[in-house]
Amino acid sequence: MSSMTRRRLLERSLALGAAAVLPGVLAGKAVAQTSRRDLTVAQGGDVAKLDPHFSTSSNDIRVSFNIFDNLTSRHPDGKLYPGLATEWKRTAPTTWTFKLRRGVKWHNGDPFTSADAKFSIERTYDPTVKTLVSTALATIDRIEAPDPSSLVIVTKQPDPLLPARLAFYGGQIVPRKYLETVGADAFNAKPVGTGPVRFVSWVKDDKLVLEANADYWGGKTNVDRVVFRAIPDTAPRIAALLKGEVDIITQLPPDHLERVTGNPGTTAKGALYAGLYVLAVNSKRPPLDNPLVKQALSLGIDRATLVKELWRGRGIVPNSMIAKGDNHYDASLPPFVYNPGEARERLKRAGYRNEEIIIEVAEGYLAVTKPASEAIASMLSEIGVNAKVEVIEYSVRAQRIREKAFKGLWWSDPTSTLGDPDGMFWRLLGPGGPQDYWRHPRFDELGQAARFSVDEKFRGEAYREMTKIFLEHLPWIPIVQPYEDYGLQKFVDWTPNPNQQFEVRRFNLKLQRG
């Protein structure tokens, strides 16, 4: 090698070396880095179904939104972005027209067309298929696919929220040809989507392996592989993060936040949950049929202390049934008040005769709700309520939901699926909804009207009036709007999504590499 080239080589390597060190030096402290090209995520529960239309469990959703794309996509910033649809417009009062992305391929090489979108959406509410998301897109009347890259959706009534509906569960697009060829069971075992990662393997209770889709229309993900593992117990899950065995953990309870942030290699990130944690009420059961009793219960709960002590400040006290961040959230309303004296008054006025009021909580379903139940029961005892906590199993809870047979109060975490009250309280508390224990004619009238109105001002008025009715009758007793926290290795650059989706696409996930 001539001296010229040797010097060149030296210069080059020096320059490269400096370039590697310099950013860290300039930043003034060591930047966490890795050379790895894979990401391991530990969830609190195992994946159960890979077919996106057969599960609404967050453990499954985190995976399915990455194997599959939706027509529209809700990013962590809360806005709607193009997904498999590049443009959409309401071309008639009940008609939405979508322009679909060209050149997209399924993971098995088949081309994506409007026929797939039509098939997929119709599948969700097809009575012979019996999906678990059959009501998500129930406002749709019919779908037309005039050409391979356009889709026309006609709704039963004017539906301004359709694009938002398509962004959430039920709106994942599945391949018609592949599904029809292999059948639903095989599809669930080996799913094929258009998403940024493709399915590789799944060993139950062990791990789910996904690899990057190199041809993804949104650009290849920053990592080559994403692995999902389940570590149901909290202490081992956090330990796995602290030891570096996993890169991201979900369901980080507030009590353990400091351990993660205090550890040199890890940090925590949270998103304000797009929804609320509430005590739903079986308003059919006395004494909970009496609004005064429910108001008393609400006044007797010291939410601020609960948030401060049990949630370690990682949450806000709600002011109504509309979550902060949703359309028509009224920031001028004060948060729910704690007034034990007034609570006792109302109990007396209601003629409360020490009937038992039961709080049902499922073990391990929602973080912090079990201790919160006990704390609330204790608070209610102090205002003279005969409150009891009953811990029930998850399957019993599911049964009670189905049979509408809760004994009194139970925990619910209604998610705002559309960023709008229609997709949150109205979806659940509306007539025929899963939490239909209480009806009020004016409330119902307003809810229906607001769903199908395109006049945002009118909707705002309607929701304001509904809020007043809600606060008087309290079919829910909202408790907290928590931050949902995740633990991460410091070299993981990722933002959580308020609606519990887990975004690995290029725009949201990056590993700092050295």
């Binding site: 909290t234 202490a235 309870p253 009590d255 049990l310 006990e374 906590v389």
Partner: protein, 302 residues
């Protein structure tokens, strides 16, 4: 616990329990057993006197004093010798009251199991024939069944209430009593005096009460003691799985369950009830072993 094979247990143990014969001669109880019995007595007394012995109300929450380590001044300004749990409740008080639950459930379960098992055993031994076969087959089935799953299944159905727990835990152990009673009855059945009594017109029941029971009493004591230890552990195991006596009532298993999440931050929540549980189990089974050596060495292997 095979059906016909005696499982061996070493005759010689560290704690040098002298053979029965020499014991009866000397009439002295070895010191480890005395300690154990004293511990048990203390446990029972504390359990009975719990409301007076425990420093605080075990269900009293104090959200400002959550997760406090053993300390002289927690967030609520009070002394918590064993710390507080995730709702600020005093661990020591809860351990003391938890002892009540464990002992009550344990004793009740032993009574239930004993009654069922003894009845079946006497029946099987006395009547013989197909009743005997039925009972022994039931015993086989019971032993073959992974009982913990049955317990989980039943409690998941019926809910974890005190009666359910007592019955389930009690029924997990009837086989031991049945075996012993059955073999005692069989032994006595061959003796002439039973036939003689029958011949004289006495009732079989009188025979049982008069002759069988006194002879099996010592065996029953041994089995009951060993079963008590097992019942306490089973109750705690179910509590650990979330299927025991429900909060806010404290139980050792339940406390260990609640503290599991905080194992590496607030370890005292799980550890103290666990240590007491372990000690109790140790002492009870040791005492049962000693009873066996003293009262009825033929039981060795059951």
């Amino acid at each position: 616990m095979a059906s016909s094979i005696p499982a061996p247990v070493p005759a010689d143990t560290l704690l040098a329990i002298p053979p029965a014969a020499s014991l009866r001669r000397r009439g002295r109880i070895p010191w480890p057993v005395t300690c154990g019995l004293a511990f048990l007595a203390a446990l029972v007394i504390t359990a009975v006197m719990a409301p007076w012995v425990a420093p605080y109300d075990p269900v009293r929450q104090s959200l400002r004093a959550r997760l406090a380590p053993p300390t002289l001044a927690a967030g609520d300004g009070r002394v918590h010798l064993l710390g507080t749990d995730h709702l600020g409740r005093d661990v020591l008080s809860r351990v003391i009251h938890g002892g009540r639950v464990s002992l009550v459930v344990g004793f009740a379960a032993v009574v239930v199991g004993g009654l069922v098992g003894a009845t079946l055993g006497i029946l099987a031994g006395f009547q013989g024939g197909w009743i005997d076969t039925v009972v022994m087959t039931l015993a086989d089935a019971q032993l073959a069944f992974p009982f913990i799953l049955l317990a989980i299944g039943i409690i998941a159905v019926l809910g974890p209430s005190f009666p359910t727990l007592v019955v389930v835990i009690g029924l997990s152990g009837w086989v031991a009593y049945t075996r012993v009673l059955r073999s005692q009855v069989l032994v006595l059945r061959t003796r002439e005096f039973v036939d003689a009594i029958r011949g004289l017109g006495g009732s079989p029941l009188r025979v049982i009460l008069g002759h069988v029971l006194p002879n099996v009493l010592s065996s029953l004591v041994v089995i009951a003691t060993l079963e008590l230890g097992r019942a306490i552990v089973l109750e705690a195991t179910l509590g650990f799985l979330g299927l025991g006596i429900q909060p806010p009532t404290p139980s050792w298993g339940g406390m260990i369950h609640e503290g599991r999440e905080y194992l590496d931050s607030a370890w005292w929540i799980s550890t103290f009830p666990g240590l007491v549980l372990m000690l109790t189990s140790l002492v009870v089974s040791r005492t049962g072993d000693w009873f066996r050596d003293v009262l009825d060495p033929t039981l060795r292997g059951e």
